[in-house]
Symmetry: C2
Subunit: 174 residues, 2 copies
């Protein structure tokens, strides 16, 4: 219980998103200890891009935003979603088929801080500039994200909740 209280205090004291004085976002170094949402392998909205070994994507969200989603079915301000991209391997140890995860390839972050913004972190994990609002990620999320411009249609546990709460965009279910 004492540990839980201490964790609550440190979580409140340290927001999931931190910025440099010049506005760049700092790499959210502890995202692997956030709440996991779901994974994909080789997901693409353009079949012609799907060449070579497929990559995994793993999605995480900060715990405070997740807890809020459980109650409301949508995202509060200060939500930080992390898309982790990893290469895949097929043969290794006793595995004889399918794919498992290997090297980190990149991290993309979607932050709701007033409005939604994207940041792309390379493997160096240095502070990242905001992706310009004219980039296609914004218009695609706006058009196809079913809950508050996010792809909850690919997060099965949250999709179920959002349906119950009635927060799925009309015509937006997969």
């Amino acid at each position: 219980m004492r540990t839980a209280v201490l964790l609550m205090i440190s979580a409140a004291a340290c927001a999931a998103q931190q910025y440099m004085p010049d506005g760049r976002m700092m790499f959210p170094a502890d995202y692997r200890e956030w709440i996991y949402l779901s994974s994909g392998l080789g997901m693409t909205y353009d079949k012609s891009m799907n060449m070579g070994e497929p990559s995994f994507d793993n999605v995480f969200v900060n715990r405070a935003a997740y807890n809020s989603f459980l109650h409301t079915g949508t995202w509060p301000d200060k939500t930080v979603m992390v898309l982790e991209i990893r290469s895949s391997l097929s043969r290794g140890s006793i595995n004889q088929g399918g794919h498992f995860e290997d090297e980190l390839q990149g991290v993309e972050v979607h932050v709701k801080d007033g409005k939604w913004a994207f940041y792309e972190f390379g493997k160096a994990q240095a502070p990242a500039k905001i992706v310009p609002q004219t980039a296609s990620c914004y218009s695609c999320h706006e058009k196809s994200g079913v809950v508050d411009t996010t792809f909850v249609q690919f997060y099965p546990t949250l999709l179920k909740l959002a349906k119950e709460k009635g927060t799925v965009k009309e015509g937006g279910e997969r």
Copy 2:
């Protein structure tokens, strides 16, 4: 009986594993809020079994065990690892290739409580009996798990740590 179970839960407070008076393990209902380790798609050690649509597996571990692993590179007593199995979909919403996760198919749990034990939970998530120690999961984990009979070779962030700590079984790397 109900009172007895509730008393047991409150007495054990924060333990990730809880048992019924008859020894069955209770479903770890909050495992989706534990630490995520990695995922696989269609993984198999028997090629002939890999038919039809592949399933995803997502692995989680309780936070206390994870924190201990960060320091030691191996698992403490009271470690609970959860293997969540989900069906996959390929077409849906804007997705045109690859796979994303869908319905829960089952949950298997590996618990270190004195010694390691397996429990298999169906979709009903009812309390589960221990899998007999003669089952092949025990001998396979014993033979091929590279850290303390667990498949850390498939969890890239932990594998890196275990190598640094020197806890990977000799000849056991993938």
